[in-house]
Symmetry: C2
Subunit: 233 residues, 2 copies
């Protein structure tokens, strides 16, 4: 179940709209398109695994992946979810370390692989691009620091509320206020850093308190303000 046998459609592999590449000129975008290799990935397939050597980074043009680390006795800690328009694997690539996370597809995806050398060439020859890269890294580092403070000081209840709001920001809601990403209770737990049962109990508390509505994996937001207060944001 590594990937489908059919190549993605050309319109599914357009990189020019990626914010990440906003400082590249047409020639550079051309080089990118020439060097890229795009592929379909079915739900459940692993794009790269913790400890593996990376040959390039990936641009997501369709679908959703989860990025996680494997902790004590195999329990996975989800670092983040990524979607179309996001970039993955550049961190380990640029520090020339082995991948420290695993990327698994949770919604059928199309990914474009860009070789390390291409990235290095662009960074070296386009100051605006490398400056942008630096800024992105710095911002991610702040987010990581924020998250450390959160997870160290907040209760599980606060963290769950926060994760729900975070997902709302990243994946948005549809016209009925229903979250546009469908996660198992276990995945939520692995993001919050708690037990599945705790997530279940807290979600039904949130429901009883009229903060959310639940239909299977669908989460509908009813009272975002109280949720925000509950997350101590």
């Amino acid at each position: 179940m590594r990937s489908s046998h059919y190549s993605p459609l050309p319109e599914e592999t357009d990189l020019s709209e990626f914010k990440f590449f906003k400082h590249l000129n047409d020639t550079e975008i051309g080089k990118l398109n020439y060097d890229k290799t795009c592929q379909n990935y079915k739900k459940g397939s692993v794009v790269y695994r913790e400890g593996s050597r990376l040959t390039g980074f990936y641009c997501i043009t369709k679908g959703i992946l989860k990025i996680y680390k494997t902790g004590i006795d195999g329990k996975e800690q989800i670092i983040r979810f990524v979607k179309a328009g996001d970039i993955v694997a550049f961190r380990s690539l640029l520090s020339q370390e082995l991948a420290c996370t695993t990327a698994k597809v949770i919604d059928d995806a199309v990914l474009c692989h860009i070789p390390y050398q291409t990235l290095l060439f662009l960074l070296q020859n386009n100051w605006k691009f490398s400056h942008w890269m630096i800024q992105i890294l710095c911002r991610e580092l702040r987010e990581a620091n924020d998250y450390i403070t959160d997870i160290a000081q907040k209760t599980v209840r606060e963290r769950l509320a926060e994760v729900l709001l975070l997902l709302k920001d990243s994946f948005d809601v549809d016209e009925n206020n229903i979250l546009n990403i469908s996660l198992t209770r276990e995945e939520l737990a692995n993001m919050v850093g708690t037990a599945t049962e705790s997530v279940i109990r807290l979600l039904s508390e949130f429901k009883q308190d009229g903060l959310i509505e639940l239909k299977g994996r669908r989460v509908k937001f009813l009272d975002v303000n109280t949720l925000r207060r509950m997350a101590s944001l």
Copy 2:
């Protein structure tokens, strides 16, 4: 108590040994020295505060600082301790955000301030240097991700053991195996993300188990291997 009135001695402000600057040539090091402003800071003084606008970054040539965020109801979460040879504040500076941490001196220090423009100039004109910068950021990002997994999945006991080992790595021990940094119980707690009383209880457990010896704030390592096992490393 912002700083002493005396200027630091010239030999206390040498930047050429900083690993961070290893890719700069003599001219560039010269520019650095020309642009820098060095100052003594007494224990307890704050170098920059969360939410403030930064005008440059700091090179620590002497002393120790703690870098922390202020979380729920004022509880501080220590992100890391830094010492001579380390650089601080470049993260917020480069992403052009307000400082997201506070830096407080816990051992009399000498710091050199380098203006933002100088950093930007060096990054823009020296690809090796900006590549090195990118690699440093990527490595820190991995460390932050590792720490998130730790803190989310480990017990307080495991985290305390890990923090002790981490301090041992960063600050080393003297000839008697005594840790070269002196922290209050509260500071340890703020690093682990727990209550002061919990740290006290666990430290005396470690002592009873023959892992460490305690004399006030001095921590002596007796059995690093068991400590490592205890930290699940």
